[in-house]
Symmetry: D2
Subunit: 416 residues, 4 copies
């Protein structure tokens, strides 16, 4: 480790943050990372994608959230873990960096975008950490293998599994920040839980985090918040309607490109995506400003589908939706397809089935094959128990989530 | 008036709002206005311009704020004014529309942008209201002169001066919303005041709003919030530094265009601005996504100044600043200019003097020539008094504001 | 009905309330009721009994809560029900009065007190409403049978069952106020739920309240808040320890009185309670100030038990507790009794078994014999469904509550 | 110093606090002090005296506030001062004890009570610290002179003036807690200021606390909060009306005692007060429960004045008030006295002039003879400046406070 690893700012810097009041930075490395262009780029990626079209307050960026995750991990390490057995203080900086940088590879409207172009934000996080970037330059100054260690934590392959569980488990700093932050910016009351209490009972133990059983009710409340936020915010059908349109705009643009269509405005920033030859530089250049600027350019294109779908997204003229699982009700779905055709629209672009199982959110399901570690309680006896064994509420919530199937279609069609 | 003026939605619609909890819409006209593309465009204009580069939470749009102003006016009219003498209920709809639409003409980073291109958001508000727009189509359905009446309220020329004062006075719904909203999104504690109390004491009286004297302390608190928000948020030097750079990027681009420079990417959306031939359509097409997309395109331009300044803005590599009034300290200013030259930079683009008197915010100065009406108290005797006559605190704040002069310059220069 | 029933205050009066911001009063009858000495007496009865000895903020009185229940009912009637079919506006005043007065008969530390003296706060509520009181004088001015109607609503025997369900059902104004209020004063985060949303979906329907199914998640959150408040606050073992001591102080004092013990300070205010001859006047005269003053007087008594137990309560030197059901573990319980004897204490006064089934709080158990109506949802089809049929979460919470058994004993004993 | 001085609890204990979220206790000494009967007695003294009769939420006790002051001082010392030059860590415990115990000597309804009986809560604080008390027993275990040192800090005579200024200066922990706490419990919005920011800029410097000038606006906001809280809460005329009655009840009881009146219920707890022979034991025995119990006993006395005034207080049948300075308007005052006589009441007990200069609250007046130190700013140059020199707002507030004169009288009189 270089001296740089331990360098402190002359005076602590703070960021005013509406969720945590202040985000505190003492480490020079953290300060330098925040100043890199790759980290600043997160200001141009919204945390909740299309959700702002339903909850108008949800215009906050991944920059906000990344600072918040860093701050929670910093508090856990500096206020709770320091000096405890089972915690190795020499892991402090690498964990803080992983917390700050865990979302670095996200692109514009991540989920809908990846669905079309098959890019992978986890892959690009690694590329940014290890490639020719300002972030990598900062990390390399700490030590030659430091960037790789940060990447391994984010990828959940790091040898110190305790470090991993702070960033990535069923009750990690990532979720604790986004539930509170998304609740704050949307204005809903569901995301509140007593994080102060949870931070008081979190403990490092043999390669994972555990929670003193005396805090179980605060954790139940966190699980309930999570459940409500998913149902109310993350799975909101109107925001998924906007995602459906966004998906089809991109799909149509790629199809036109493949077919040799002459765009009025050359889609320079999209070409490597259309061709599946995306470099790190291309990836970083395409943020939400650029993507939405193209949508606005495309409103003037000749192609009727591209033009119309772009307009629908930009002016928020979204699709309607109906509860319908095409596999279970193939005739009803076929009828809808016919209706769309009958008004002269192409079902390929004007119908979109969707289910919540496609979404990048999960409930607490301790038995599932999720790579996220379950939540463990430390009983007064010292014994360790998985949360849903102890909590009837959590057990009930874990076992009763149903997948929701919807089909999105133009409002012009009157559904029977 | 058509029936349309009185049409109500079958069921009240609400928007979840973090500041007012809910924004309530019953009127079909209001609902239709919100759905227009011109109103939806306000989602692409940030309420606080470059402030998000200092207070990361301040990413909220003018769409948010516009709904908030509407909601406050709706509450005043429906909960307080209805049924009182001096209030003409037939003005309800036109005032609600004016509240909702008062910021419709704002462009991207309004203040810095107008400073370069001499566009005027008030002029464009009128154009959008009366021109060939979706907004105008809705307003025309109410009555032939309805759009003109909305425009007159926003321009403060409407015959019913009470209606004007709700939207535009020293304590109007506009300010009450933005102080609270900007405080909420930045996370500072200064913007809080007891709006509920103020709404309880507001009264219509002879063509203006007055406040029962029993609420004076709540109004003092509002004035104090305003004072603190200006000093802490609206005048923040780092956000003004970002504005300085943004200003110079645009100035450089125009200069290059005028000089016949060949841009790699044709600046289609800016051409009419460069030529001072801006149509309403051009104006509406240039929002913050487009503007920032161009900044990112310009980072690849040949011209070193345009390229460098664009990069500084996008990557948040801002200017430093020093307290300096060039008129009072011309030698110190000249020294700074020389320093900039000596490192090979053009002072025209790398030095920017700025003062708070240039900013579009004002304190409460009842004696000034502001077109905004002062705040009147209704004494228990029925007599009307101007606030600063009654309140020592307000009088002190009104008379003691100093203009702050700064000069912005590249960080590479070490100021002595 | 007299004119008095419709009399309005010249100007609306408000009470500043930390939970609802303001409590609004327009009706002369309500104003007059608040001013009666019987209603003012509620300032001298704490809402949460001994809980302030654990959560120091919980010093709020039943006066606070009573105003809050009134305010919630007023909002439901005036903002939601007015003008709807199934709602009879002529019931407005009687329901508001019942909301305001529903807790009028509570005595000091209600639960522990009633347990010793077998008084019944519901009985005394009726006495105060119908007896020779200031409250009755106000109610009689409305109409001869008005006081009786108020009593019938509170007793759940009123013919208009919709009126009853506002005050007394599984999601009534009483619970909505106390959950929020008790959370506010204790400072815990669990009591928050989105009451604004619930008030938006509440509907009168055929003699009961129902909730539009679109608000189900807000109701789930309310049920979760209730569950957490019970476990965290209402069932807190330290507050029950204080209740155990209080219970034994009173039991001892009665025993001494029955045995002809000469008190230094004559227990005038308790005599009729000791003799089971309590008049309304006696009942009203014994509030928490008086009761606690006697406890302090009794710290100087000769009787060692009365003296010691009183001291323990006043100086907060409480009992310890252990999880123990005497019926299931008689030998362990017998051991504890022996321990108490062995240090010279009388188990009659120094041991107290207690279970949460003794407490005056219940969870949501739709199948139970509770007289409280369950929660009904109105489906989009118009069909009515009981909440736990629709909500897995609620079903889980309703079915999984276990009774908690504890035994309280002096800290001097080291439990094995 | 004994080992006891450094003894830590095995596990940190916390109190849930609505204002500071949690109050944290690690030191055995602090824990033991909280458990003493003299500290527990503060639960029986309301923080805001009669204010709960106007703002019903203000039922919180001095126990609450004392924990809060301790917590603020603990945060300043442990989070900010530790390790800085000018701060002597060996003073930590004595300052924490002084913070916790600074209000220990307050009696029931302190101000009104002292006004009648000429007791002095500062004198009794010293008595409790140094006398035969549980508090003294704890302090003596630390070291023989420890109790005296705590007393000296509270009395502002301690040699380490920095320690004094934390508890007692124009911006001390005492005020920062009570402004926020009183705002929280009353529910008004005025008491909010950014304490987190203030704690970030507080610094120890040469025997006093100073504030980095960068935090000046947060301090201005604190001064504004203080100003508003005084005008809105602390000087509220209805609460002063209740104090006037309370004062006269006590005055009448003493007069009757002096005249040999035979009380039905012997006023045991008051006798030493009536005779000016108050011992520490007598003082501690008279809390608000006892005092109010006597008021209720006195409602049954023969003496018409004692009976009536007691009833007025208990049932909240308060005096009216008028703006009137008897010295400036003697004739108007004389007229009022005549009116009172004319309805058969004794002006000695039924009229009470009062001015805000009598109240135990002061505004920020840096030039006054207050023993409280003014607020100092540390400029970037290192220079120290008094706040009102730098802040126009504060200067305006400091110089413009007027004394408010009122006269309280029975509502039966119609004032002209």
């Amino acid at each position: 480790m270089s001296n740089y690893a331990n360098a402190k700012l002359v005076e602590e810097k703070v960021f005013k943050d509406p969720v945590h009041r202040y985000v505190h930075v003492r480490d020079q490395v953290i300060w330098d990372l925040i100043s890199t262009k790759e980290f600043q780029r997160l200001r141009r990626i919204k945390q909740l994608g299309t959700t702002y079209l339903v909850f108008h307050g949800a215009e906050h960026s991944r920059f906000n959230h990344s600072l918040g995750v860093y701050e929670i991990v910093r508090r856990i390490i500096d206020d709770v873990f320091r000096g405890r057995a089972d915690w190795d203080e020499s892991e402090r900086l690498v964990v803080l960096c992983a917390a700050l940088l865990h979302d670095l590879g996200h692109g514009p409207f991540s989920h809908a975008f990846e669905n079309v172009f098959h890019t992978d934000h986890e892959y690009f996080t690694r590329q940014i950490l290890l490639g020719n970037t300002e972030v990598n330059a900062v990390l390399r100054k700490v030590s030659p293998d430091f960037a790789e260690r940060v990447a391994l934590i984010i990828e959940k392959n790091y040898t110190n599994t305790l470090a991993v569980s702070l960033i990535s488990s069923q009750i990690d700093a990532d979720r604790m920040d986004y539930l509170q932050r998304d609740a704050y910016f949307t204005g809903v009351s569901y995301g509140h839980f007593d994080m102060e209490r949870i931070l008081r009972v979190i403990r490092p133990r043999q390669g994972q985090i555990v929670f003193k059983a005396s805090g179980m009710h605060a954790i139940e409340d966190y699980i309930m918040s999570r459940y409500q936020m998913y149902l109310q915010i993350y799975f909101h059908p109107v925001s998924r309607s906007a995602e459906a349109i966004l998906n089809h705009v991109l799909k149509r643009a790629r199809k036109l490109y493949e077919d040799g269509y002459q765009f009025k405005m050359k889609p320079t920033h999209f070409e490597s995506f259309f061709k599946n030859e995306v470099t790190l530089e291309d990836y970083l250049a395409l943020d939400e400003n650029i993507l939405l600027a193209y949508f606005q350019f495309w409103m003037d294109e000749e192609d009727a589908i591209l033009k119309d779908l772009s307009r629908r997204f930009v002016n928020r003229d979204l699709f309607a939706h109906v509860d319908l699982n095409p596999e279970e009700e193939p005739e009803r779905f076929a009828w809808l397809v016919e209706q769309v055709k009958s008004i002269g629209l192409d079902p390929e672009y004007y119908i979109k089935p969707d289910s919540t199982s496609d979404l990048p959110y999960d409930f607490y399901r301790p038995g599932s094959k999720s790579t996220k570690k379950p939540i463990y309680l430390e009983m007064p006896s010292g014994e360790i128990r998985e949360l849903s064994e102890q909590s009837h509420i959590v057990s009930a919530m874990a076992n009763n989530i149903k997948v929701d199937y919807k089909v999105y279609y133009p409002k012009e069609i009157m559904f029977m």
